[in-house]
Symmetry: C2
Subunit: 207 residues, 2 copies
Amino acid sequence: MTKAGSDGTLRRRILDATRHLLVAEGYTSLSMRKIARAIGCSPTAIYLYFQNKDALVHTLIDEGFGLLYEELREEAARHDDPVARLEALWRRYVAFGLRNPEYYEIMFMLHPERMERYPPEKYRRARRGLELSIQTLEEGRRMGLFAIEDPRVTASAAWAALHGAVALLLARRLDVRIDPEAFIDTTIRTLLRGVLAPEALPQMAAK
Amino acid sequence: MTKAGSDGTLRRRILDATRHLLVAEGYTSLSMRKIARAIGCSPTAIYLYFQNKDALVHTLIDEGFGLLYEELREEAARHDDPVARLEALWRRYVAFGLRNPEYYEIMFMLHPERMERYPPEKYRRARRGLELSIQTLEEGRRMGLFAIEDPRVTASAAWAALHGAVALLLARRLDVRIDPEAFIDTTIRTLLRGVLAPEALPQMAAK
DNA sequence: TTGCGCTGGTTAACGCTGTTAAGTTAAACA
DNA sequence: TGTTTAACTTAACAGCGTTAACCAGCGCAA
């Protein structure tokens, strides 16, 4: 008999069940016992495929980074103009976060002490998304479109800003009087104005 | 015999011990039993003064918001020029977060589902800090210094951006090749350029 | 055909968690 | 002196991540 009772390897079923539980009940209520119950195996069976709970979640984090990178890469390929590409990347990042709150939470919102266990080597993979922004900023700067110093620093600052916006929205801590769409728009337009060269600025304001 | 064995009410000693444990070991490892052990009482004694663990933490969150607001209010009073005041408020916010990571974590980084239990009425108090930014933006806009639409939305967007920066730094997820100071500086200068009116812009770049 | 070893699980247990119910001690007061 | 009450403790429940020990069934060599 092959691995796992019903369909697919038990490993795959564990990952699927974990993702579903994450969507349904959030990270804090995720437990090994619940996962096991959901797929009808004993809690300890999970340890045959994952070293511990962290390793299991890290595997899902990897999946999440893969999805995000694919979206960003596809978006980047669609725009030649660095300014348009940068804005598109930023909007896509926010959209991804809001569309995949469960992935986003484990990818970016886990507490520091937990995240330290995430292998640094995997961070490099996670940073590929940022590279797209860095390259775009670099390219635009050479064309005189952006007034920035270090593209890497600017890209990180912008990414952090977007993360703040997504985190605020996901936590539902935005003032109820504020329209989320207007909030996202203001965030992105402010950042864009912040990096655009003065001579490239009026063109954007006209939009 | 009065409340609490040694000095101060037991309630006060619980709060102090919790804050110290938070500093020393972080939120995730905080437990009622540890708090009790630290002050030499039984775990259940805490429930005489706080409804549950959440209520205990919420009390500390309140303390944190009080501290933050005091710092921001003092900072705001020091600057007449709206542009200088805005920048000072933003820098002070980041500095507070980095100087009080344990407060910051429970104030702004707890998971959504936990934060929902935080009474909405207390959020209003927490928002007082944001009001300082809103007023400054409003005032500066009347003087033609800021090119913004809704001060409330812009203030929220900027705050979210700063939160993203602080969260990134506290989680130590910033690329090691990037100097934290440069990162903060870029974040704040980008935001400032993003809200400044074009005619007020060169004045800043000269700084 | 018998018996060994491996694969893929299981059950039982440890020490931890937040929280509740019931019990206890000592002071305050009629 | 007897009773009430405030302040706290002990014992327990259910759930948590994780480990150690065990066991069923299969492939395969003797």
